[in-house]
């Protein structure tokens, strides 16, 4: 045996023709947050199939998911400290951003910041989901598993330093969400949403993949580090292939972030998909989409920023903000309205990306952070108002909410005002920072367009507030004839009240865990509204960096 081994080694040494596959060095510490999320999801799947009893306890499932999300966030802390650390002179230490796995996996402030956001959106969605699944009779571990797996895809996108890895992340993220969107077996709209999302999503993935191949053809690599290096040192005599590749990548990302004109799926899918899933789609999926977009465009294609993709981004940003805000106004379904408004928000984040500066990136990251909590909270409220069946989303279902559930109405109002960008909410600073980035870059047209759409947007949020506070449900059902005698009028009033009660549908329950989720989102929205430094400090330190492996 020993001899044989010896022999084979000597043969190997002699025979150069047998290739040795180099295995890249992997710093496992860089993967801990991802592993917690992904393995956490897979473990739950295995565990619940072995112990069906566990799968029946929805408290245990939710608790487990939240614990995994918190674990992911905690695991990010040492990494963040390492990335932000600066070695003192003469000291030998591990500090600064780094990449591993042959440069395919980058760890920098950017990836960690967005990983934390993804985990937070998982936790918020899981808390809202708890009661929803029970009421709808959908109990089971699968939604939680899919949530965690999808988020792990997002984490991969945020950390990927290679286009192929970005694509893997994109697919892990998307496929899980396709299933989540269709998870409500009893709702036809949910099935429809899933199919629509799947078909269009697959189409966009194809674009993305085609884009990767073209970029590879033009630059000879799929690694962001190599692409950036190649473009920095070479001038392409004909860059048609590269530009086509960049355009296709932009389409792929544009679909995920729901930028106009790749937004058509959003309102239908948001309307049809189960509301807690929409909370995750609007926050987590959008964060992941922007993570990939910013990583690829701001790192690999910096040399093609000024003349090539920035003008396109400018047009897309204005179109996204404007179309989202304008179409939101004509909707009568609250879920659909907020779907369009989330399109408009994507446009605002693109304003930060368009700036392609440090200020712009941290503004976009701040916006993503603020928006994640606002939108998760908003869809949390929508889930509760939707009640059993998840169908009561018309604007008229919100009439008189301030009387039935005053706290819920007030909380929703704060979320809506935050989306409108009213001061003392995180949404205001989010808009403030992206506009500042645009102004610093002297893109005044973009800044003014953004503010005008903010006003248009304000109108649609006011409409919902009007419905909650200023529309008496009694008005919807006719007035009492003034000529009636007192007794008749009293009888008519009782009759009217009954009619209104019937039209209002079942009472709105506020389950504890959903309240915790909404409360957390509210806390962050208000706290950051007073002290933006809580987030902006981190956002400023979270610039994406490209560091070659081993350096």
């Amino acid at each position: 045996m020993n001899n044989l081994l010896h022999l084979s080694q000597s043969v190997l040494a002699q025979n150069e023709a047998i290739p040795q596959l180099p295995t890249p060095e992997i710093a496992w510490s860089a993967f801990i947050p991802l592993l917690i999320l992904a393995v956490g999801g897979l473990l739950l799947l295995t565990f619940t199939s072995l112990m069906p009893a566990f799968a029946k306890s929805s408290w245990a499932l939710t608790g487990y998911t939240v614990a995994v999300a918190i674990g992911t966030i905690v695991a990010c802390i040492p990494l963040w400290n390492r990335v932000q650390r600066v070695c003192e002179a003469g000291e030998v230490c591990q500090a600064g951003a780094f990449s591993t796995a042959a440069g395919a996996w980058g760890v920098d402030g950017f990836s960690i910041f967005l990983t934390i956001l993804m985990a937070a959106s998982v936790a918020l969605a899981a808390l809202v989901m708890h009661d929803y699944l029970e009421t709808e009779g959908l109990t089971g571990p699968e939604p939680y598993v899919l949530l965690m797996l999808s988020a792990s895809g997002g984490v991969i996108m945020a950390s990927a330093n290679d286009l192929i890895v970005v694509f893997i992340g994109l697919e892990i993220l998307s496929i899980a969400v396709y299933v989540l969107a269709g998870m409500h077996l009893l709702r036809l709209a949910s099935q429809e949403a899933a199919v629509k999302y799947l078909v269009l999503g697959a189409f966009a993935s194809a674009f993305f993949l085609y884009g990767i191949s073209m970029v590879y053809g033009a630059t000879g690599s799929t690694s962001l580090i190599d692409i950036q290096g190649f473009l920095a040192t070479n001038v392409l005599t004909s860059n048609g292939t590269l530009l086509a590749g960049i355009a296709m990548l932009l389409i792929g990302f544009g679909f995920k972030i729901a930028a106009v004109p790749f937004h058509a799926w959003t309102p239908d899918v948001y309307q049809g998909a189960p509301s807690p899933v929409v909370a995750y789609m609007a926050s987590g999926v959008k964060v992941a989409g922007f993570a990939g977009l910013m990583r690829v465009f701001l790192l690999a294609f910096t040399d093609y920023a000024a003349d090539d993709w920035r003008p396109v981004m400018l047009v897309l940003a204005i179109a996204t903000m404007a179309v989202g805000a304008v179409l939101a106004i004509v909707q009568t379904d609250v879920k659909r309205t907020l779907a369009y408004s989330s399109i408009s928000h994507a446009g605002f984040i693109m304003v930060g990306v368009h700036a392609a500066s440090d200020v712009g990136v941290s503004a976009a990251l701040f916006y993503l952070a603020a928006y994640t909590f606002i939108v998760a909270g908003s869809f949390g409220v929508i889930t509760l108002v939707g009640r059993k069946g998840d169908n009561l989303h018309a604007l008229s279902d919100y009439h008189g909410l301030s009387r039935r559930r005053p706290m819920l109405a007030v909380v929703f109002t704060i979320f809506l005002l935050a989306q409108a960008g009213v001061p003392l909410t995180s949404g205001f600073f989010a808009k403030f920072y992206v506009i500042r980035a645009a102004v610093e870059g002297e893109s005044y047209v973009l800044a003014i367009a953004a503010m005008i759409t903010a006003v248009i947007g304000a109108f649609l949020y006011l409409r919902i507030i009007v419905a909650m506070f200023m529309s008496d449900p009694l008005d919807d059902h006719g007035e009492i004839d003034a000529n009636l005698s007192d007794e008749e009028a009293a009888a008519a009033r009782i009759e009217l009240r009954d009619k209104v009660t019937a039209a209002e549908g079942p009472p709105i329950r506020i389950p504890t865990l959903a309240a915790v989720s909404i409360g957390l989102a509210l806390l962050v929205t208000v706290a950051v509204g007073f002290l933006p430094g809580l987030v902006s400090g981190f956002a400023n330190d979270a610039l994406p960096q490209l560091v070659a492996a081993g350096s």
Partner: protein, 526 residues
């Protein structure tokens, strides 16, 4: 002098609003008591600042300057000078009086909470010396006013509320871009770290002339909507007509001043050159507002709408005073801001009382009220005469100073504007005649006179109308140093500024440059 007073004046109503919102109990009595206490304490604080005010100091007093968001150079910088002092006091006094005079028709708790938020926000706007803090307050006051109009208004209240919100927001949206452009261009020009501090920027203004003009226009857009100036005034009649009485009183008394005050502090002080350059435009719009407001007011059938249009005319006078750039006209403008708050606030209260009793505001359905409500008629007369500008009452002092000051630098505008004084007499006296004179018929004959609490609320306003008309000196001497300082600042900054000799500050007048650092108060920051 304790700087904490100014912070308290902002904090007390804000805390009061929280208490009102979270105090349990469905009945409104406790909410009303808390609201009255909080706003009255605020009133006392503002009056004590008035008494404590150093008349020889032209700079900012009661200053607090604390870093808020350090990486953007944003600080909690508040302070008042002779220009903002009286607007703060007006805000401090008008709110408790409104709460005493008017009880809401339903849902008292949120009503009082929103009123207190509005008071905190309004004082904040007048006190802010940081562009960011100013913008935050300027925006935040929209929300309570929107809720008050939409929740407790009449008729097409939702339409009026949304119109009000959107109009104002378009203006401030442009202003936000302007603020950011100003701050970033200034930082680039000076090489200093970025700062939003008003005084720092204004005293060392480095932005190019052309850019400054554009930025001024973006600020002016926000203020013009708030004032409101002629072409963008259409939200005002709707908002006023549909608003609950308290909303109208505060809207006219305090919130319209946010625009005119903004023109003084963030127009003239921050952009002297650009304001001077665009002065003819604003003078013209102001004068159009005077004539147009008066003409339209004459035609109104609704008493409340009439008062609303009269506001447009009055605010036109204030704009004339501001853009005439003389010490007298500016003093007159500030004086008139306070006058308008007092007299129009009182007029809206009276109209609200008539509406509450008669359930109509149509002039044609009223008549002969003098017989059934003689005390109310008497109060109405005094207030109306103040609004017309009768010598001996406060309105005269303001209008006189404005016209006197403007005659030197904006002669023809002043001449045309003087005609507005006559028109004011026309529409107000005619309205009075139709509402109070003649034979009382039907319900008009049995209308109840003023109640005790209503009289109590109107009495201080009447006293101020007479007192300021006879003896305006205490007010003028407090605002004079600040106004002279402002005119001197404009003279320094604007090369071709050439005021008539007799209207410039005396030769021995030395401009005070407000210092920024070293004034940090021990008072609690917000």
């Amino acid at each position: 002098m304790t700087p904490a007073l100014l912070n308290l004046a902002i904090a007390v109503p804000a805390i009061g609003a929280l208490i009102v919102a979270f105090v349990p109990g469905g009945r409104g009595d406790s909410a009303r008591m808390v609201a009255l206490m909080a706003s009255a304490i605020t009133g006392v604080i503002t009056v004590s600042m008035l008494l404590d005010f150093d008349t020889s100091n032209a700079g900012f007093q009661f200053v607090t300057n604390r870093t808020w968001i350090s990486d953007f150079g944003i600080s909690w910088h508040v302070g008042i000078d002779g220009i903002s002092l009286f607007l703060v006091v007006l805000t401090g006094l008008l709110f408790p009086l409104t709460i005493v005079a008017i009880t809401p028709e339903h849902d008292p708790k949120p009503y009082y909470a929103w009123l207190l938020v509005l008071q905190a926000g309004s004082i904040g706007v007048f006190a802010a010396l940081d562009l960011f803090v100013f913008f935050v307050f300027f925006e935040i006051v929209l929300v309570p006013m929107y809720m008050l109009i939409g929740g407790w208004g009449h008729g097409r209240r939702v339409y009026a509320a949304v119109k009000f919100f959107l109009y104002t927001m378009v203006g401030s949206a442009l202003m936000l871009v302007g603020i950011l452009a100003l701050v970033s261009l200034q930082a680039k020009a000076t090489g200093d770290p970025i700062t939003f501090d008003l005084v720092t920027i204004a005293e060392n203004f480095q932005v190019s002339e052309n850019a400054a003009r554009w930025i001024f226009l973006s600020f002016a857009a926000a203020f013009a909507v708030k004032v409101p100036l002629f072409p963008v005034h259409t939200w005002l009649p709707d908002a006023h007509t549909e608003a609950p009485t308290a909303g109208s009183v505060i809207l006219a008394g305090v919130m319209l001043k946010l625009g005119t005050y903004g023109f003084v502090r963030f127009g003239l002080y921050l952009f002297p050159e650009a304001s001077h350059y665009f002065a003819p435009l604003f003078l013209t719009l102001g004068v159009i507002g005077i004539l147009y407001g008066a003409a339209v007011a004459t035609m109104q059938k609704d008493l409340k709408r009439l008062v609303a249009y009269s506001s447009i005319a009055h605010l036109g006078f204030i704009i004339l005073g501001i853009f005439a750039f003389t010490v007298q006209s500016l003093e007159g403008a500030i004086f008139q801001m306070v006058n308008h708050g007092i007299s129009t606030g009182a007029l809206f209260m009276l109209v609200g009382m008539i509406y509450e009793r008669r359930h109509t505001r149509m002039i044609s359905e009223l008549g002969g009220l003098q017989k059934s409500a003689p005390i109310m008629a008497g109060v109405f007369t005094v207030v109306m005469l103040s609004s017309i500008g009768l010598p001996g009452l406060n309105g005269f002092v303001g209008e006189f100073l404005i016209l006197l000051g403007a005659f030197g630098t904006a002669r023809w505008w002043a001449v045309v504007a003087a005609a507005g004084v006559i028109l004011a007499a026309l529409y107000l006296l005619w309205a009075y005649q139709r509402v109070f004179h003649g034979e009382a018929e039907g319900d008009n004959a049995t209308m109840a006179d003023l109640r005790f609490s209503e009289g109590l609320a109107l009495l201080p306003l009447l006293a101020l109308i007479v007192f300021l008309g006879i003896y305006p000196k205490p007010m003028l001497e407090r605002m004079e140093p600040a106004v002279m300082n402002l005119v001197a600042h404009i003279e320094e900054e604007v090369p071709d500024f050439n005021p008539p000799d007799d209207f410039t500050p005396p030769d021995d007048f030395e401009r005070v440059v407000p210092t920024v650092a070293g004034e940090t108060a021990e008072g609690e920051g917000e």
